[in-house]
Symmetry: none
DNA sequence: CTGAAAGCGCTTACAG
DNA sequence: CTGAAAGCGCTTACAG
């Protein structure tokens, strides 16, 4: 996987996956003719040129790099949960490595906190493409990349910045599935802790939650909704609020796994057992989720696949291609573990 | 379209500012010899190699990648916990980024599982230096890097491969501190779950644990030791064994946080409360440690600083420097949280 | 426009 | 360890 295409022992001295002599044979012309096409020289008939160009492209011959441009895709993070960032990076690397691109990593949190530029230094390094895995991109940033001629792909952007291709997970269906799972178990008083609802993803999850209740004919009780910022403290503090109510929920849908972790703590502080007294669902499926006590029922985001998809788009753009669509949404999966169970009989 | 913009410029087909035939003449050797040096192959005398290398450098031959020599440090992982890998990467990036180097990432687990080469593809990309963050490096691998002229720095290598500079944490003192903390709380029956003891780090931790007992005059009970492989299952299964004994330990020192996580599960399965009935310490301080219920008392490895140090060494080597020492050991810190308490009165 | 032939720079296989 | 010779992939110069 990673880097395949490198497995061969001896490096082939040609640029594509076939020598030009073979390309020539396939095109029914002589090697010199292919050479002329490859180097943009004149003296080749229009039909011949088109035929040869198609073959060259099919066999991995790309326009030669502008001098100084690196065969590198840079992935930019901003304060992302390390385990998630890593999974994304891995997905990017799988795709990029196979095509002989290096994957660059940087975290711009400090730069941004310090009020520094983060776009310029990136453009200066002349990567083949940039993937951002955080939400703070402004339309202005997008323009800078465009001006620098460097393709940009955004993973899970906060807002809808039309010109930048985006990759994310289907948050709405994920939250719908988690909520349905709780409804199926028999829960009727279901709380929800959301992320910042002007985030696209947080909003989509909240909407999925509400839709599930609607479909099931369960009225939505506003006193069971709390808004946080996708943090552990949300789960702990807002969770404690929910549990302290006169009619507390028997289950809570959390906006992400970190909030669920916080809710574990809040529940324990009240002497509630999970899942016997309280069912909890998360969102993300961070790597430790199966190892929590109890293991967390959550909605898996396919971060590796998200990274891989972003890399495919980025490479396509870097090599002069166009995209079929501007927004790619990958499926989420409900992973049922030990933190959900039927509500206690009352 | 392919290769546009190169038609007019008559590009010389060689990489430096003189063809290798001329370099050969200047060095008083034959072209094949220069070719061998250029490609890091064997079969060239030491004197000859040095003379040719100097000439190549003088005439603009950067190992491969003529233009824009890859200002890139590549970090190679192998099945490392994502959150740890990310912290290391961040440390590397901080140092490398400040010097305008890109940080490349790759994970060679699948390659190795598939029995493929992982060194060659890396050498092919000609990074300025390589940092390995896993243990499987053989002396042979080290030689390959040396032959390719690419500096190599190892993070936490399993074995003592003398020629490769290594960076790690002080595992012995860390385990000593954790064990002392439990002794200070009043524990006397302290169990231990170790990693594979032919790992340098696992062995050092076990030794630190034993040293603390010795200093405190507490005899070491072999029935309280279990050996695992640094996994969650170790903590769960070996932990269950320990707890099932007639005289179970009142505290357990785990070889890493993952094992501690497993032990949480094993304790819960027996109805034991942490820390009331059982104290647990981990090692690493993974990012979720403060968010577990209860928050985990553990020994923090300064992964960010380890990465940063490795990057400093790598850059020093890449720029032709020499190192003052071959092995760098950074300090660990005991972080006391909620999983340790005095033993229950009996 | 096209390609046989010659040429170029580098690498490989092998004999010394 | 070393290099003469053969080879390889591509390009160039030129004849048709």
């Amino acid at each position: 996987m990673i880097d395949e295409g490198h497995g061969r022992q001896s490096r082939k001295p040609w640029r594509g996956d076939l020598p030009i002599a073979t390309i020539a044979e396939l095109a029914g012309v002589s090697p010199p003719t292919v050479s002329k096409v490859l180097n943009g020289r004149g003296g080749v008939g229009e039909q011949t040129r088109l035929r040869v160009e198609a073959l060259l492209r099919d066999h991995g011959y790309r326009r030669r790099q502008a001098s100084g441009a690196a065969r590198c895709i840079e992935v930019v993070f901003h304060q992302m949960l390390p385990s998630i960032a890593m999974e994304i990076l891995r997905g990017v690397q799988e795709v990029a490595g196979a095509r002989d691109y290096t994957v660059g990593f940087s975290d711009v949190r400090r730069r941004i906190l310090a009020g520094q530029q983060w776009v310029e230094p990136l453009l200066m390094r002349q990567p083949a493409a940039v993937i951002t895995a955080f939400s703070l991109i402004t339309a202005d940033d997008g323009k800078r990349f465009a001006a620098g001629g460097i393709p940009l792909v955004a993973i899970d952007p906060t807002s809808d910045l039309s010109p930048t291709p985006a990759v994310g997970a289907n948050n709405w269906s994920g939250a719908l599935a988690a909520t349905r799972h709780l409804l199926d178990l028999g829960h009727r008083r279901i709380g929800v802790i959301t992320g910042p609802v002007n985030d696209l993803s947080a909003r989509a999850r909240l909407d999925g939650f509400r839709a599930a209740l609607d479909y099931a004919g369960v009225p939505f009780d506003e006193t069971l909704e709390r808004r946080g910022v996708f943090s552990f403290d949300d789960g702990n503090e807002l969770g404690a609020e929910l549990l302290a109510q006169d009619a507390p929920p028997s289950a809570v849908v959390c906006g992400n796994d970190l909030q669920a972790l916080g809710l574990y703590t809040a529940a324990r502080a009240r002497g509630l057992r999970i899942p016997e007294d309280l069912s909890v669902t998360g969102f993300d499926d961070i790597d430790h989720a199966p190892w929590l006590t109890p293991p967390l029922t959550t909605v898996r985001q396919p971060f590796g696949e998200i990274g891989a998809t972003a890399a495919r788009l980025a490479l396509a753009l870097a090599e002069g291609g166009r995209l079929a669509q501007e927004r790619y949404e990958l499926g989420t999966t409900l992973v049922v573990r030990g933190s959900t169970a039927p509500p206690a009989a009352r």
